[in-house]
Symmetry: C2
Subunit: 374 residues, 2 copies
């Protein structure tokens, strides 16, 4: 495998390093903007690049339905299609299919589901997911198909679910094979909020052997505290020498606390989704730009930022764009939020390298209104 993960510095459990891939280096801890349907919503690819993102996430479920896996392959794969030449990680499609309550049926073989677009029937198996991601989409980091265990499941249900995911992980590994020199395969640890099940799931995946390990089934309703507690017991079960990816997380405080616990990679729709709805994250916490107090605020969100969306337009202008329902408002706040997330990751990487991560963490917790650390 031409993927190497090098840890440059640690500070407690927090660590910073580089995941090297044939398409470029990913500085960790890393935040991956989500490009659901071959576009980071409301942003041009140059705007995304300008935020400093090293890697994007693509959604296999959306891409397999539109434009379709085989069509995407004929068009040269996702990188060429959307004009992004750096690494791409794709999810397996499992999470989004799992979210189609009433439209899908889980079996040992895989998931049968109906398209939310046209009602057509599809079957997603571990093998088909690998084919879609690795061969048709042409992703760099491929995720195994798994079942996201519903929050609130019993211990017994969570056990049955994680064992299905482990068997799908094994089939994914077989389908992926050992011959892919330029692509990596990640397994996904499930087990809900039960420490013994998280260990059991991690052990099963480690015995299969993956290039990286994701933590799934969090940020699905359990809340910040329980997420942190689950990370406390899960991360130590993962190999030190492989990247750790917390899927679908999260708010800035979630990123800080997960990095504190040793997580290396993140993805989330929050910065772009919130941006499209008028919410901007800042070093002083979130603001809603629609608020009347910004109607005549002549200052940009962050004059010190290198992101043009943060440092140039006044809050009054952004407020106006949202009031007038102009698309540019959605673009600028998505851009600002992605820039902020990348700046936050860069600040954490720098703090870890200097052994000052706990200072940064304490300062951010205080600024964002969270309880001081013990």
């Amino acid at each position: 495998m031409r993927f190497t993960f090098t840890c440059h510095a640690t500070d407690g459990h927090a660590r910073t390093g580089v995941l090297s891939t044939p398409r470029g280096d990913i500085r960790t801890p890393a935040f991956m903007p989500v490009g659901t349907a071959a576009t980071v919503k409301a942003m041009s690819i140059d705007q995304v690049k300008s935020t400093g993102a090293d890697i994007l996430l693509g959604n296999t479920y959306h891409l397999m339905l539109r434009p379709g896996g085989e069509r995407l392959a004929r068009l040269g794969g996702l990188h060429h299609f959307m004009g992004w030449d750096k690494p791409i990680l794709t999810d397996s499609g499992g999470f989004q299919v799992w979210s189609l309550a009433g439209l899908r049926k889980m079996t040992e073989a895989g998931v049968e589901f109906r398209s939310h677009i046209d009602g057509s029937r599809h079957m997603l198996t571990p093998e088909r997911s690998i084919e879609l991601q690795a061969d048709l989409i042409g992703s760099d980091i491929i995720m195994q198909l798994d079942e996201c265990t519903t929050f609130g499941s019993s211990h017994e249900e969570a056990l049955v679910s994680l064992e299905l995911s482990a068997r799908w992980g094994e089939r994914s590994k077989v389908a992926f094979g050992g011959t892919r020199a330029t692509q990596a395969l990640f397994g996904i640890v499930q087990g809900s909020v039960f420490p013994d099940l998280r260990k059991r799931s991690a052990d099963a995946l480690k015995s299969i052997g993956f290039d990286g390990y994701a933590i799934g089934g969090l940020a699905v309703g359990e809340g910040h505290q329980l997420m942190c507690q689950t990370l406390d017991v899960t991360v130590p079960e993962l190999p030190m020498d492989r990247p750790r990816y917390l899927m679908g997380v999260g708010k800035p405080i979630d990123l800080v606390e997960a990095v504190h616990r040793g997580v290396d990679m993140f993805d989330c729709v929050l910065p772009t989704r919130a941006g499209r709805h008028g919410q901007a994250w800042t070093w002083d916490g979130p603001i809603n730009i629609r608020n009347a107090r910004f109607a005549e605020d002549p200052d940009p969100i962050d004059p010190t930022s290198t992101c043009p969306a943060s440092s140039r337009p006044s809050k009054a202008y952004l407020h106006h764009l949202f009031k007038a329902e102009e698309i540019l408002g959605q673009t600028l706040l998505s851009w600002h939020n992605l820039g902020f997330y990348q700046d936050l990751m860069a600040a954490m990487r720098a703090a870890i390298a200097k052994g000052q991560f706990q200072d940064l963490r304490a300062r951010l917790r205080q600024r964002w209104g969270f309880a001081p650390l013990d």
Copy 2:
């Protein structure tokens, strides 16, 4: 006045030159993208700049209602507000108020109307329009308030209307005064499709004296042929040494034929509006990117263009973005169309300078499916 209009070359009635303003040169013939509500819809200001536009148009009606003229002035004026430091031309607000059928009342004093946003009452007079444009918005080129004569009006109705516009022109000139060293005032010729009334309107405006002369009341339903015929009789009535601006026009063929008749400036929402709806103009005519034949078209719209939106994404990608209703599709096609319009103006300027405008005109008419020239 620090505005100078220099004609560098003519080719028949067509002419190319530069309108110099304190905020920069406008190469003519010029196309002005429309930034209705302090934004060119769906585009960032850097994307607009990249198309080569020398000047933008702002809509006084929209700006006076939101964010409001006085608020805009407190925020530093429109240029600062939207981050555009080149020239801006504003319309008077008259056309959009005129379009509010049922919500407005014309009197000698001006137009009383209700806001389409909140129903609030407003009064737009020639004097208030000058104050809004020149003092509050801070526009570079200011248009007199006029009444757009409805297409289909009788000769008598058109005469009454143009005389009202002429009186408003005189009041606008008085309100504008002679002391504005950095701003220009344009009059607007009306007279519907009646040659004698167009002459009468032009004579009235010339005797008042303006820095430039606009032709209003066209592209309101009369069609391409009648528009051309009206230009044939109107343009010769305008001063040679002042810029001529055809308001609200138009399709590419309209621009070519109007330049042929001696027009120097244009504005139109068409490239951005059509772009948001999936239509792209090309040197071979318009295409609708939603058409199924583009679903697997691997080529960009125009690989030879300097506009990134024209030369980079494949038509298949643009097709996908429109099918998936992604905002980026609207951005990219608006950008492409504005780039195409600027390229068309540049091609016309170059052809006039070389004495080859008739060749270009004949070639474009043929490519776009219009009857050959006599």
